[in-house]
Structure formats: structure tokens, C-alpha cells
């Protein structure tokens, strides 16, 4: 279950200690923008050790490496891949080829270390070219499990201001969702950057959910709870999901090919959504 992804600065020893206790479904240990050029080596080694010695059992671990146009990305992967993080997040991905270059290098490291477990990839799309190529990026490699929209850098590329309302990234958001769903993978929305504005965060989350995003990245631990709440199925959604599964069972027993619930035909996509909802509900337990 991945509703929230929390960015954590990779060179901060204190934050790495508690990264997995902040309620986020996934943590993004950041070797890129959160780390100055002089400290890239330091962050890399610290994150590697964190993966090795701290048991991040309660959450998924994502590493944001440096982009492939820097001198750091290969060293990042050299240190990290042997520790088998769940996902790598390459920034500034603009085309399928970018993904391929990274996937190939990851594979070479895995072969060298005889690693079976496959680290997945979640490309961060934050350039106009990237948005334009969203679908091909989404289906470029079987390691790609989701795509993630980076609004801040994107608006720089679009030559416009980044606003809370987000009109300027409206198209990009919609495009990302379509690309991801067409490729049958998940899709994540850009973080809300005003740490203090709780109302604004909620509106932004609800908007993203309304568009079909799977979840949202956050830059502050204070935003995690809201994101988790908004992107969790509601009580009604869960009740409905159980009703769907029940009625399908009934249909099977009665030998019916098609069945309706509350006046609506229940077809395969609805059953699948119900199944996913129940899975999420069970993963959440009683507490969000």
C-alpha cells in the first residue's frame, strides 16, 4: 500500500533514524536536491549504512539518486543497489532511453553481486519532454512500477509560476494519470510545498485523488497524515467493496453471468477495484 511518499534528506543522521516511524507508507531517502555537492559522498555512504543496519521494516524504501547527467548517479547506484532498496527514483527522466540506461546499470550491479531481488524504478518526471513522453516512460521497462510528477522543476521548464491552485500543471497531472493507467502502473502527484497550510494541503490532495492519482509525495512529515487519510478508501468505499465481493459470490452460486448492485452492472474492473480496496483496508488495520 503506497499512499504517501515522504522525502528525507539523505545526509541527516538524526532524520534517518526515525524516517520509518513517521507514518508514511514509503520514505524517499534523497541523495539529490537535499544534499549539497560537497556532501554527495557523505550522504551516499550514510544512506548505504542506514539500509544495511537500520531495519526499515514498517515502510517501503525509495532512494532518489542523482540524475544521469551528473557524475554522481553511477556511484549512487554502486553503493545502494547491493542493499536491495525497494525502488530507485531517478530525477529528470525525459524519455524511455533514460530509464533503460539506468535499468541496464542496475542490472549490471545486480549481476555482479549475484542479487536476485529486483529493485524497481519510479521515474520522477519534471521536464516538459518527460511529460510529453510519459506513456513511453511508463512502459519502458518492467521495473517501472509507477511514475511521479515533479511540479516545481516542471514549472521552471514551462516558464511559468508554480501556484497553490495548480492550474499551470493541470494538463501535466491529467497526462501523467492517463499515461500511468494506460501502462497499468501507479501514479504519484507532486508535493504541496506550503508546510503550514493544512487546509490547502487537504484541497490539493482531494483534487489529486479526484483525478485518479494513487497517492502523493510530501516534503514534510506534518503532511503525511492528511495524505494517508485522503488517499485511503473511505468507510463507504470499503463497505461497498465488501458488498461487491458478496454479490459476486452470490452470482457465482446462482450461476448468473452478470449481476447488478444498487442498479449498477458489476463488471470485472469494478470487482478488481473492490478487491484492491479490501486489500488496502486490511493493510490499514483499524488506524490510519
Amino acid at each position: 500500500m503506497r499512499r504517501s511518499m515522504l522525502f528525507m534528506p539523505g545526509n541527516n543522521a538524526g532524520m534517518l533514524l526515525n524516517a520509518d516511524a513517521l507514518g508514511a507508507d514509503s520514505i524517499i531517502l534523497d541523495l539529490e536536491d537535499a544534499v549539497s555537492p560537497e556532501e554527495k559522498d557523505s550522504a551516499r555512504i550514510l544512506v548505504r549504512n542506514a539500509l544495511k543496519y537500520l531495519n526499515y521494516n514498517n515502510c517501503e524504501v525509495i532512494i532518489r539518486i542523482n540524475s544521469i547527467d551528473t557524475k554522481y548517479w553511477k556511484k549512487d547506484l554502486d553503493e545502494i543497489i547491493p542493499l536491495k532498496p525497494n525502488l530507485i527514483m531517478p530525477p529528470k527522466v525525459s524519455c524511455a532511453h533514460d530509464v533503460q540506461v539506468i535499468a541496464d546499470y542496475i542490472l549490471s550491479i545486480e549481476n555482479e553481486h549475484k542479487i536476485e531481488n529486483e529493485t524497481a524504478i519510479i521515474p520522477l518526471i519534471e521536464t516538459s519532454l518527460g511529460v510529453e513522453n510519459a506513456f513511453e516512460i511508463a512502459k519502458s521497462n518492467k521495473r517501472v512500477k509507477a511514475i511521479f510528477l515533479g511540479g516545481e522543476d516542471l514549472t521552471a521548464d514551462l516558464r511559468c509560476k508554480r501556484t497553490k491552485k495548480g492550474d499551470e500543471i493541470m494538463y501535466s497531472r491529467g497526462r501523467m494519470v492517463i499515461a500511468a493507467r494506460a501502462a497499468n502502473i501507479d501514479v504519484y502527484d507532486t508535493p504541496f510545498t506550503d508546510v503550514e497550510d493544512e487546509e490547502g494541503l487537504k484541497l490539493d490532495c482531494e483534487f489529486a485523488k479526484g483525478l485518479g492519482f494513487t497517492g502523493k509525495a510530501v516534503i514534510s512529515p506534518r503532511h503525511v497524515m492528511c495524505v494517508n487519510e485522503v488517499f485511503s478508501p473511505s468507510k463507504r468505499d470499503i463497505e461497498y467493496a465488501y458488498e461487491v465481493m458478496e454479490i459476486i459470490k452470490v452470482a457465482k452460486e446462482q450461476g448468473k453471468g452478470a449481476i447488478s448492485l444498487h442498479g449498477k452492472m458489476i463488471d470485472a474492473p469494478i470487482v478488481e477495484r473492490a478487491r484492491q480496496t479490501i486489500e488496502m483496508a486490511e493493510a490499514m488495520g483499524g488506524v490510519i
Binding site: 533514524l17 513517521l22 483499524g286 488506524v287
Partner: protein
């Protein structure tokens, strides 16, 4: 007629101070206090020796006490809380006789029953008239409630009001009545306002603290106590305040009308009062400007005496009617005993304050603390000092799990059913140590530097000197 005396020098002589007597102070001016220092300077200059000080708390600003102890002006100390600067020296053994630590409820009780009789009480008062009707609510050094000063005023043999804001008679909105006061002295500054109260207390921005606060609120929510008539107390630390904020939002959402909030009042408690979460705030101490303003202006925000708040020998006290209290800890052991007197190296830097009183009285006592601080687990096998006994502590909330005292099986089941991460306290300790490593035990000396007197008068623990 006037009780005004022109100088501290004069008033000390008028009160008939003698070597070996006991004098008292309250701590409502906190780390901005000037009064203890100027009174003690005068007493020292006049050559008195072997004075015992009973101060409800001693803060870092009172470091000159160290000099007075070294030259034997002061040979006895009784407090409810001691800051780290003076604490460190006490821990090294500069006093021949152990410090007596009491709680905020135990101190007025012992003053009233004569266990610690006060010869002269010095009452720092932000505003007073010439006959000694005084208050903490007004004046440039306003501190709000004078809760801890009442027992002193009512039971000391001689009572001196020390103020920096003299007003015309009568100060009709008085807290302490002239009937208790012998003399009034006016000085330039009784304290520094910025040290007396915080401009604003702020909830923590630390994500771990917020996580703890969030869990704490959920525990309260599922405890069965959060319903109309609910009463609550929380500390002034960042995570405690965050819990107050979350609780307020929850109470408003669920339309719960509580009865009272007590403490230690901060702007967050004032927010709760103004939002209608409580009928009243019972205030024994104000922590920030908003609390001071509220106690001055809002008739629902009441000053209460320390005895009323927490004395075990009053006919009844507010803590006995309290539903939930949120407290901190430097250490907690696997029997839920809590240490708030010393740090992990055994240096004195705290004290019970109202900790043991509220823990004894509240239906639900919650300790909210991070699982470890700077590589040291909060959960230990044995605390360096028992400040509050484990049988009065119900729940430990950390960012990595919640432990419930085995004495509260029903509560534990409730919280587990609600889906909260309930773990055994031993498992929490092991989890902490799996991250931090296992620390070497601290070695302390053989000299007792402090006695921890529980609210029932018994000796709860002793604190040994550091090496």
C-alpha cells in the same frame, strides 16, 4: 498606615531573621526571576549563615545560590524542581545536607501541617498596594497565577511582598490578601519579563514529537474517557502541546464538552477554553503571555492555589478528579517507574513538580516521550531515580509503539482493539537498544545529595552524588 519598607536590608532585619531560619520563595517568575537573587545577596551581605531555603522551584538564573552554598550562607535547600545549572553543582555534593525534593502538592501540605515551617516568606508580586493586597495578573512583570505562593503567604510567620509595581490602595482584584502580609518592599525590577513567560509557546515542529502527539490523542480517544465532562492536563513541552491541539480539533469535531483543563496553562489550553472544549481552566501557573492575558480577562479562567490543585492532605484536590494527564520523562523503567529528577548521567536537572501528584490522581496517566534521546533509550531496566512510582503510570507513548501497564489490562485490550500499536515495554526497550546499542551502567557515588519525598510523606528515593 503603610507596610512599605524602603529596602530589603531593612525588611530582613524587621522580620527578625536569625541564623538557621527557613525562608521561602515561589517560582512564578521562573527563569526571569530577580527576587531570590537580590534577597539572598542582601542576606549574605548581612552575614547570616545556615539559612534553609524552601523555594517551590530553582531555575538556572538562580546560579548565585551556588556561591551562597559554598560560603555557608545557605546550608539547606527544599525544592520541587531544580534546573541543570544549580542541579549539576548539587549533584557534585556541595551541600552537606541532602536537598529535599517535594511535589507541587506535597510542598503546601508540608507547609500547612508544619513539617517545613517557614519563618519568612518572600512573595514576588508583579503588582501590590501599600498594604500587601497583591496579584500576578497585572504589571510589567505580570506572571499570571500565583498558585504556589498561597501556602507561604497563609502560613509563614512573617510575609514580605516584593513588588516593582506599587498601586493605590486597594488593589481590588487581589490574589493574596493584605491580611497575610507584614511588609511590602518596592524594587526596580522583580524580574525580566522575557524570562518570566514565553512570548508564545509553540508546538513542536519535530516530526517525531508530532507522531507521539498523534498517538497520544488516539489513546485518549479510545480510552473511554473522552466524553462530555472530560478533564485534561498537559505539560508545556512541544509534543505535549501538539497533543492539546490535536485533542482540541477532535473534541470540536465530535462536539464533546469537557469540564475543566488544569495546569500549567499555555495558549493551547486557552484555545481549548475559548473553543468551548472546557467550561473552565483551573490555573496554578501561567506559561505564556496569552495565558496571563486570559486569566486576567476571562472569568472562566480561574487562579487556584497549589493546595487546591494537588495537596494530598486537603479535604479534596483537583487532581483527584482529573481524567487524563500527559507527562514527560527522562527515563522510565520496565515497571513504569518514571525519572524526572536526573538526566541519564545522574545529574539533577528536574524534579517532580506536579508529576507525581497528577499521576496519582488522574484516571489515565500518559507518559509521552521519544523512544530514545541522543543514543539513550528512554526505557531502562532501572531508573536512576524514582520520581513517580510505576503503579500510578498507565501508558507510555513513543513514536515506535505504545506500552500499557500490565495493571491496566482492560485499557490495554481496548487500545489493541482500536488498532493502536501496543507493545510490551520490554520489547520497546529491546527495540531501542537494537538501534542504540546497550549502554554501560552509570557509576554514582555514595553520598546522598537529595531525598525524593513522595506526596504521602514517605521517602520515595535518594539521589547519589555524581563522580
Amino acid at each position: 498606615m503603610s507596610k512599605i519598607v524602603n529596602s530589603l536590608n531593612e525588611v530582613i532585619k524587621l522580620c527578625g531573621l536569625k541564623d538557621g531560619m527557613r525562608i521561602s520563595f515561589h517560582h512564578h517568575l521562573r527563569n526571569g526571576d530577580n527576587v531570590v537573587n537580590i534577597v539572598m545577596d542582601e542576606i549574605s551581605n548581612l552575614g547570616y549563615k545556615n539559612i534553609t531555603i524552601n523555594a517551590s522551584s530553582v531555575f538556572d538564573i538562580h546560579y548565585p545560590l551556588i556561591g551562597h552554598i559554598r560560603n555557608k550562607t545557605v546550608t539547606g535547600l527544599e525544592v520541587n524542581y531544580m534546573g541543570g545549572v544549580v542541579g549539576r553543582e548539587i549533584s557534585s555534593g556541595i551541600l552537606d545536607v541532602p536537598v529535599e525534593f517535594r511535589s507541587h502538592g506535597g510542598r503546601p501540605s508540608d507547609i500547612e501541617t508544619g513539617k517545613t515551617p517557614i519563618d519568612i516568606a518572600f512573595i514576588a508580586a508583579p503588582t501590590s498596594d501599600n498594604m500587601g493586597n497583591c496579584s500576578g495578573k497585572y504589571g510589567k512583570s505580570a506572571c499570571g497565577s500565583l498558585g504556589y505562593a498561597f501556602a507561604d503567604a497563609m502560613h509563614a510567620k512573617k510575609v514580605v511582598v516584593v513588588t516593582d509595581n506599587l498601586v493605590k490602595y486597594p488593589l481590588y482584584d487581589f490574589s493574596i490578601a493584605e491580611t497575610y502580609v507584614d511588609y511590602v518592599v518596592c524594587v526596580d525590577k522583580i524580574g525580566d519579563p522575557s524570562g518570566i513567560v514565553s512570548g508564545t509557546t509553540k508546538i513542536t515542529k519535530d516530526p517525531v514529537g508530532l507522531m507521539m502527539a498523534s498517538y497520544a490523542t488516539k489513546v485518549i480517544q479510545h480510552s473511554g474517557l473522552l466524553k462530555d465532562g472530560f478533564s485534561f492536563q498537559t505539560g508545556a513541552g512541544g509534543a505535549s502541546l501538539a497533543a492539546a491541539k490535536y485533542l482540541k480539533d477532535l473534541m470540536i469535531e465530535q462536539k464533546i464538552k469537557g469540564s475543566f483543563g488544569i495546569g500549567g496553562i499555555t495558549s493551547y489550553m486557552v484555545d481549548m477554553l475559548e473553543a468551548g472544549c472546557f467550561e473552565t481552566l483551573m490555573d496554578v501557573q501561567c506559561f505564556d503571555l496569552r495565558a496571563v492575558q486570559s486569566i486576567r480577562e476571562n472569568p472562566k479562567h480561574k487562579e487556584v492555589t497549589a493546595s487546591h490543585y494537588a495537596s494530598p492532605t486537603s479535604k479534596s484536590a483537583i487532581v483527584d478528579n482529573l481524567d487524563v494527564v500527559i507527562l514527560g520523562a527522562t527515563q522510565i523503567d520496565t515497571n513504569f517507574n518514571v525519572n524526572v529528577h536526573t538526566d541519564s548521567n545522574g545529574y539533577i536537572m528536574g524534579g517532580s513538580g506536579g508529576h507525581s501528584d497528577t499521576a496519582a490522581g488522574a484516571k489515565l496517566t500518559m507518559i509521552v516521550a521519544p523512544l530514545s534521546r541522543a543514543r539513550l533509550s528512554i526505557v531502562v531496566d532501572k531508573v536512576l531515580c524514582v520520581s513517580t512510582p510505576g503503579n500510578t503510570v498507565d501508558v507510555l507513548v513513543t513514536q515506535r509503539g505504545i506500552a500499557v501497564n500490565p495493571l491496566r489490562k482492560e485499557l490495554k485490550d481496548r487500545l489493541k482493539d482500536a488498532g493502536l500499536p501496543i507493545v510490551d515495554i520490554h520489547d520497546l526497550k529491546n527495540l531501542a537498544e537494537s538501534i542504540t546499542g546497550v549502554p554501560k551502567d552509570i557509576k554514582l557515588g555514595n553520598k546522598t545529595v537529595a531525598n525524593v519525598i513522595y506526596r504521602d510523606g514517605t521517602l520515595l528515593d535518594t539521589i547519589k552524588n555524581t563522580l
